[in-house]
């Protein structure tokens, strides 16, 4: 991102952008809003857009969309929909960062597995084959990112987090129970019990783990020069009936300003447009560009990339090849074709303020099941759903139906 901003500044002498990144980001945005020091542009995660809109941190940018020159057709539908709150547009998607499968191609080769698995049968077979002695075929923790894994499986199984309008939790469905049962089984069969957050990444880097599922932002950590074996990326296999994958998305927003300034608005539009057009650089840092055009150029571009995408469509054979092909001269790691395409089935939470609060009980329930402190899956999901319903009701009453000053 810094590299992109520097390049932008170089090419636009009359618009200068200073980038800052912050820990505890949304707390920092709140305090900046309270002291009227919000920046001209801010990136917000898709699941935070509604919350930040209702809290008067970001403003509608329907007027800017034309200036930026983008429209719904330029992005996958769900990620574009995530930027809309109460019929108004608040954000423009930059990237989609899906749950991703990382695999140790050296272990695959030793075990005689030629392709990363793409469905349940292949996955379970590969994981079983790779689990022996000190090696784990698949490793899953009892903390982050089990909620993201659950979300992927829930939606693959035809379930959903919430009801249509985001007022009630719906994850305690038979589909949800089945998804969590599968996770528990996978943990028992291939992984180790009670692993803390990041334990699977550290073990994978140690070279004893066949596959892990984590965010695509781990690409530089788990592949290429980050490991001393052939670490590769692939789309998370489709375990149940439908393709679906959990993903996050960084979106550009226009924070509320004290004084309206059309000149600054125009500069912001130019900046956002530039960032979207040049999001290939961002992709090298392990993010999939949200813009269809840029994503297509990655999938089909690069040396031998076209062939790779064709073979990926033919059954995933090309996934590892294209990852290698995508590793272009500038040293970054572009996502494989299959992975880049998987974001078209990405699922995002409904655009409801405070929606992330409602995930807290679910995260706890999943972690409790995966760490063995809860044994009845249906009861754990039911309990989480009823607590989430209360939180959703409290939020509704707290935030009201539309943003207000």
């Amino acid at each position: 991102m810094g590299q992109m901003v520097d390049q932008f500044n170089e090419e636009h002498p009359n618009i200068q952008v200073t980038m800052t990144s912050q820990g505890e980001y949304y707390t920092q945005l709140s305090t900046a809003a309270a002291s009227n020091t919000l920046p001209d542009v801010a990136i917000v995660h898709v699941d935070q857009v509604a919350t930040q809109a209702f809290r008067n941190i970001i403003q509608p940018i329907d007027d800017l969309v034309g200036q930026i020159g983008v429209s719904a057709g330029d992005f996958p539908e769900p990620v574009w929909a995530g930027g809309e709150v109460n019929g108004k547009r608040y954000s423009i998607p930059l990237d989609i960062h899906p749950l991703t499968m990382f695999y140790n191609a050296d272990l695959f080769q030793t075990a005689g597995i030629s392709n990363p698995p793409t469905n349940r049968q292949e996955f379970e077979q590969a994981a079983q084959q790779l689990t022996s002695g000190d090696n784990n075929g698949f490793m899953i923790t009892a903390g982050f990112p089990v909620a993201q894994i659950f979300a992927t499986l829930l939606h693959q199984n035809g379930g959903s987090w919430f009801n249509e309008d985001g007022t009630k939790a719906a994850w305690n469905s038979p589909e949800g129970v089945e998804a969590l049962q599968w996770m528990q089984q996978a943990q028992q069969n291939y992984s180790q019990p009670n692993l803390e957050v990041d334990a699977e990444l550290n073990a994978f880097k140690g070279g004893t783990v066949g596959m892990v599922w984590n965010g695509i932002w781990q690409t530089t950590n788990l592949t290429g020069e980050g490991v001393d074996f052939a670490g590769q990326t692939a789309a998370v296999p489709q375990i149940f009936d439908q393709p679906a994958v959990w993903a996050g998305s960084h979106q550009f927003t226009r924070p509320v300003q004290q004084n309206a300034d059309p000149c600054r608005d125009a500069a912001v539009a130019i900046f956002i447009r530039y960032m979207l057009d040049n999001s290939v650089t961002w992709a090298r840092a392990g993010q999939v560009p949200a813009s269809n055009a840029v994503r297509q150029s990655i999938v089909s571009g690069g040396a031998g990339g076209a062939g790779a995408s064709a073979s990926a469509a033919a059954g995933g054979a090309g996934a590892s090849a294209s990852a290698a092909a995508g590793d272009d001269a500038s040293g970054g790691l572009l996502p494989s074709a299959a992975l880049a395409q998987s974001v078209e089935t990405a699922v995002f939470p409904p655009s409801v303020p405070g929606i992330t609060d409602a995930f807290a009980p679910l995260d706890e329930a999943i972690s409790a099941v995966m760490s063995g402190s809860a044994t009845d899956i249906q009861a754990a999901l039911n309990d989480a759903a009823s607590r989430a319903d209360q939180i959703l009701a409290e939020n509704q009453q707290n935030f009201g139906t539309a943003p207000q000053q």
């Binding site: 709140s30 009892a142 009670n194 803390e196 405070g354 609060d357 972690s367 760490s371 207000q404």
Partner: protein, 314 residues
């Protein structure tokens, strides 16, 4: 008063000057008073005020007076706040129970050791005190690395010894062990230095007299050292309890409050983490203020009991 009247009749001019308030001492405490009002007094009353509202600092128009509603939520089973708040509070009290004894006993023993005239005593004092200068985030990260399960220092060596070490950070009670160890390592230096200073204030003649009377070292410790240290020990116990009550950064970084509990909340989630979450993640700042006041009342009560129990034995 009687003398004042007498003097007034003797010299009216002097009396007039005497009746004037002497501002000098107030001027001396003024800087602290201003800081106190700005950073403690005002926030205290403003916090008390917003605890009666459904309040979000960025949405003043949406503020709604709810009276004692925020407090009622904390005492009504079934509200979103009830389970997680009490889980956090009980966890915090558990941590106080685990951490305060080692935070008092270990510094006391170290101070006794370092109160001798051995070689390099200043070096050891510096070594034990040094961690206190680190920030909490650094300490927490350091111990996270030592305790983590995949190649962490402790498990690496325990595995070498042929043991099957626990998952320190993600199972109970081991997660508490990691947090207590990190906390004790981090803060024992402060308590040690205070006890050391108090030890050096105990006059030598008491020990000489006891030696002449034939007291052993252990008798001298229990009959002279400990009683002489009592005021300082009360101070140490009280400040350690308060510091432990404010547990935040260690679980925030090392366990993120985990392991998750079936009924909601995490096994090592402290009440301060819960208040932070309520106020800055959920942005229910009125409710977070109410939680703070409940916790503060409990802390004041404990401190009071502590002073009553330990302070009144003369």
């Amino acid at each position: 008063m009687a003398t004042g009247v007498q003097q007034q009749s003797v010299a009216a001019r002097g009396a007039r000057r005497r009746r004037k308030v002497n501002w000098t001492p107030y001027l001396f405490i003024l800087p602290h008073l201003i800081l106190f009002i700005v950073f403690l007094g005002y926030p205290f009353f403003s916090g008390l005020y917003i605890s009666l509202f459904q309040y979000d600092i960025l949405r003043p128009a949406a503020s709604r007076f709810v009276g004692l509603g925020n407090y009622a939520n904390l005492f009504t089973p079934g509200t979103p706040q009830y389970q997680t708040f009490w889980n956090g509070l009980i966890n915090t009290i558990e941590f106080v129970v685990y951490s305060v004894p080692p935070l008092v006993v270990i510094p006391l023993l170290l101070a006794l050791l370092l109160n001798t005239r051995m070689r390099g005593v200043n070096l050891f004092r510096a070594i034990y005190f040094a961690p206190w200068a680190l920030s909490g985030a650094v300490v927490a990260l350091l111990w996270w690395w030592i305790f983590q399960s995949q190649g962490g220092l402790i498990n690496y060596y325990l595995a070498d010894l042929g043991m099957r070490p626990p998952r320190w950070l993600n199972t109970l009670p081991w997660a508490w062990v990691t947090i207590v160890v990190a906390t004790v390592w981090w803060t024992l230096g402060f308590n040690m230095v205070i006890i050391l200073a108090a030890l050096q204030d105990i006059p030598d003649y008491l020990y000489e007299a006891s030696a002449i009377d034939g007291a052993t070292g252990i008798q001298a410790f229990f009959r002279i050292t400990l009683p002489m240290l009592r005021p300082v020990m009360i101070f140490i116990i009280t400040t350690s309890i308060i510091a432990s009550f404010n547990l935040f950064i260690q679980p925030f970084i090392m366990t993120n409050g985990g392991p998750a509990q079936a009924g909601g909340g995490g096994g090592t989630e402290s009440v301060m983490m819960r208040i932070y979450n309520e106020g800055f993640v959920r942005n229910l700042q009125g409710s977070a203020a109410a939680m703070s006041f409940v916790v503060a009342s409990i802390m004041i009560a404990i401190s009071y009991i502590n002073f009553r129990v330990f302070g009144k034995r003369d």
